[in-house]
């Protein structure tokens, strides 16, 4: 009778140990899964950052290029105006220059 009881208790202890072992294994798996998830999150974040870097750079470059285009267009128009003004003043200017070169003023 006592032998039977001891056997039962030992079996119970064995089962209890197995339950704890399984719990520890689950703990390790949960931790490992979480670490992998964190790794994935970081990898995804890195990829997103690279995509954002390209997008931000493109936006600013495009803005700069648009401003560049406007500045050069404006300068080109201004240069044309300068040329036109100079062309219409050329005769008077040359006369004034000649007066100075020839010592007439």
């Amino acid at each position: 009778m006592a032998v039977e009881a001891l056997k039962l208790i030992r079996e119970g202890e064995e089962e209890g140990r197995k339950i704890l072992e399984a719990a520890k294994e689950s703990d390790a798996k949960i931790t490992k899964d979480a670490e992998e998830e964190i790794k994935r999150l970081k990898e995804r974040a890195r990829e997103e950052e690279q995509r954002l870097a390209v997008q931000i750079s493109d936006t600013y470059t495009k803005e700069g290029q648009e401003e560049e285009k406007a500045i050069l267009k404006n300068a080109g128009e201004e240069a044309e105006k300068l040329k036109a003004t100079a062309e219409s003043n050329l005769g008077i200017t040359v006369n004034a220059m000649l007066e100075k070169i020839l010592g007439l003023r």
Partner: protein, 216 residues
């Protein structure tokens, strides 16, 4: 306590321990993931700030370069027109020898340049000396003894200085104008057109730019 009760108690304790282990593990994991997400978010924020700054700098660089190019464009246009005006003036000088300029003959122009040079030499203290006038081969005929005597008389009258002017036999290589020398060639005033243009260069350029680019 019977054996069955002992076994039941062992199992209950093991199950309770299992629950504790698992709930602690899950809490730990939740905390770690949350921390990682916060870290990722903070990194992303800093990354975006840095990229925005880099982008703004690149944009500024493009705009600065454009402004520089725009200035160069305007400067090139101005330079081209100033060069054109100078070129036109040099072309007109040739015609002046035959047609005169603004009612002045070329001889009048040379007389003015000779007098101007002589005044400079006199102002330097070389009074009562002989002055030689040098011109190009082409211009030799425009300078007469009568012209030189008239200039000398004017200088005597206006400055009270006795000056004798004579045309040198030596000839210059120049587009026009004169060189007047005094004190046996030790003093020379160069009033050739090339020299006058060079001498007047900076003020001439300023005047030309002002005259050319001021809307009439």
């Amino acid at each position: 306590m019977g054996a069955e009760e002992i076994v039941a108690k062992i199992k209950a304790e093991a199950n309770a321990e299992r629950e504790k282990i698992l709930s602690e593990a899950e809490a730990n994991v939740r905390k770690k993931v949350e921390e990682a997400k916060k870290e990722i978010e903070a990194h992303k924020k800093a990354f975006i700030t840095a990229e925005e700054r880099r982008g703004a700098e690149e944009k500024e660089r493009i705009v600065r370069a454009a402004r520089l190019n725009a200035r160069k464009l305007r400067w090139d246009a101005e330079e081209a027109m100033i060069a054109k005006a100078l070129e036109e003036a040099m072309k007109r000088i040739k015609g002046i020898k035959t047609d005169g300029f603004n009612g002045n003959s070329y001889s009048d122009v040379l007389a003015g340049l000779i007098k101007d040079a002589a005044v400079s030499i006199i102002a330097g203290g070389s009074a009562g000396v002989d002055l030689d006038v040098l011109v190009s081969e082409e211009d030799g005929d425009f300078v007469t003894s009568a012209m030189l005597k008239k200039i000398a008389d004017e200088l005597n009258r206006e400055r009270g200085v006795k000056v004798r002017l004579s045309l040198s036999g030596a000839r210059l290589k120049t587009a026009g104008g004169v060189i007047v020398t005094g004190n046996e060639g030790k003093i020379a005033v160069n009033n050739t057109f090339e020299r006058r243009i060079a001498r007047l260069s900076s003020s001439l350029r300023e005047d030309v730019a002002k005259a050319l680019f001021t809307p009439s």
